[in-house]
Amino acid sequence: MKKSLILVMTLVLSFALAACGQGNKTNNAGGGTNAGTTNSATGDTGAAGGGETSTSELSGSILAVGSSALQPLVDQASKKFMEKNPKVSIQVQGGGSGTGLTQVSGGQADIGNSDVFAEEKLDAAAAKELVDHQVAVVGMAAVVNPEVTVDSLTKDQLVQIFTGKVTNWKDVGGPDQKIQIVNRPSSSGTRATFEKYALGTKTEDLPGAIQEDSSGTVHKLVSETPGAIGYLALSYLDDKVKTLKYDGVEATEENVANGTYPVWAYEHMYTKGEPNEVAKAFLDYMVSDEVQNADVVELGYIPASKMQVKRDLDGNITK
């Protein structure tokens, strides 16, 4: 009795260990099995396998992971896409731009959503393998607490505020009130965009500055905290916070589209190499007029098709 129990235990243990070993191997290889197991909690194990395509009808499953700023759009578009192609299953997960890029680069996800160019996060070799699909544009604006009387800030003034050289609103033409910065964490894609295109310089985390990752919290804190300044995507702007002009230019979709307002970024959907059939069909659907003119606008993004200017990785703008 006891012997056989020990026998069973050893068997079980060796199985468990063997399974572990295998798991590690596939993990190192960046194979599909790994993503399958990690996602089993959400149900769809076949997701990472990528579309097993049939000849007649589009079928298969894809996994899109990454940027939480882009997630609502991809999520909504994927639901419509799945209604049209019932055999396709698309899973959309958040996790942040870094996660999206890592997973698509490692092969665990089919599509990696990102707020920033892959070259800014991954090393050059890994970024080279990824194919960029720009599906939308997000504009950003500096916002202040409604009680702050300042309407417009120049680039220099913004830099001075976010680097801590100006700490009182009276120095930039406002009331005698302390400036409270509501920033994003230094790893955030939103902050990277704001620093790159609005400030033109990297800033340090100042003592006393608040850092929040979620746009909802930033919005809440800016609207409630006296003297607060932060920055939000255009879709989050409302009358609870006051939107500042940048160098006198108003933050509107038209100004972003015609290139007069510079603080905006592409929303990227990366694939590793050329996408497979299902992913390609989905990405085509994302940039089709059906999504661009409806869901993209509805959710507060700017359609990539409307942009009259183009910008490359180094920030060079072409008409």
Partner: protein
Amino acid sequence: MARSRENRKIKQHIMEEWTGKVFTSLCIVLLVVTIFSLVYFVATKGFSSFIKDGISIGEIFGGTQWKPEGEPPFYGALPFIIGSFSTSIMAAIIAAPLSICAALFMVEIMPKIGRKYLQPAIELLAGIPSVVYGFVGLSVIVPFYRDIFPGQGLGIAAGATVLSIMILPTMTSIATDALAALPPGLKEGSYALGATRWQTLARIVIPTTLPSLMTGVVLGMARAFGEALAVQMVIGNAPHIPRSLFESASTLTSAITLSMGNTVMGSPQNNVLWTLALILMLMTFVFVFIVRCLERRANR
């Protein structure tokens, strides 16, 4: 005929025994494997920032500058360590007297009302998701502190307040169990000698149950130490050692949750976050160790 039936019965029972044993052993093996692989995973990831990226241990534990994206990068995690300790210790200081008094009330003073109404109410607190605590903290406690004290309201004080409510149920239920397990003879003896209720509580009940009460406090602190979401929402997350309790600060957990998704796996920025996770895990071990020691004292 009769014998074979008996045999069958015995066989059936043996089978039952076996199924039970195999099932429980399987569960235990699975648990042990999970725990060990978790520890292994966090440890290898956490140490890679020392080994692969060459960050010195002294910098992480002693450095006060946190600029993982900077040129050159700084990885001083001391502000987070201080933030984590100060919030959880403060939360325990706020919650411990409350929970011990609540337990005394429920067990010694008014057992009927306490058991019937107070205990379910406190246990209900344990079921509220932490994001709700965070949101309530951000909407109620932060504006309250902002109006009363200088500063923005966010900070260690707000974090500790939210955490103290969160850990109240853990502490109270452990304190209640400890008080209820006290042999009645002790109290009766004290009363028989003419001691008042206050004297009995202060000189007999609390001193004898102190190790168990402390266990509750330490477990509560461990919970506070590991809580991420609620704290992240109200603490402000500036990676600096704050000059006041009402200035934006960070904890280990908030630093991890804030940046983990935004950094790329395997990069130094990401590895150093895993090191923070490793510190958190080691701290949990320390807490468990303290609880073990206290339990041993309580059992003696």
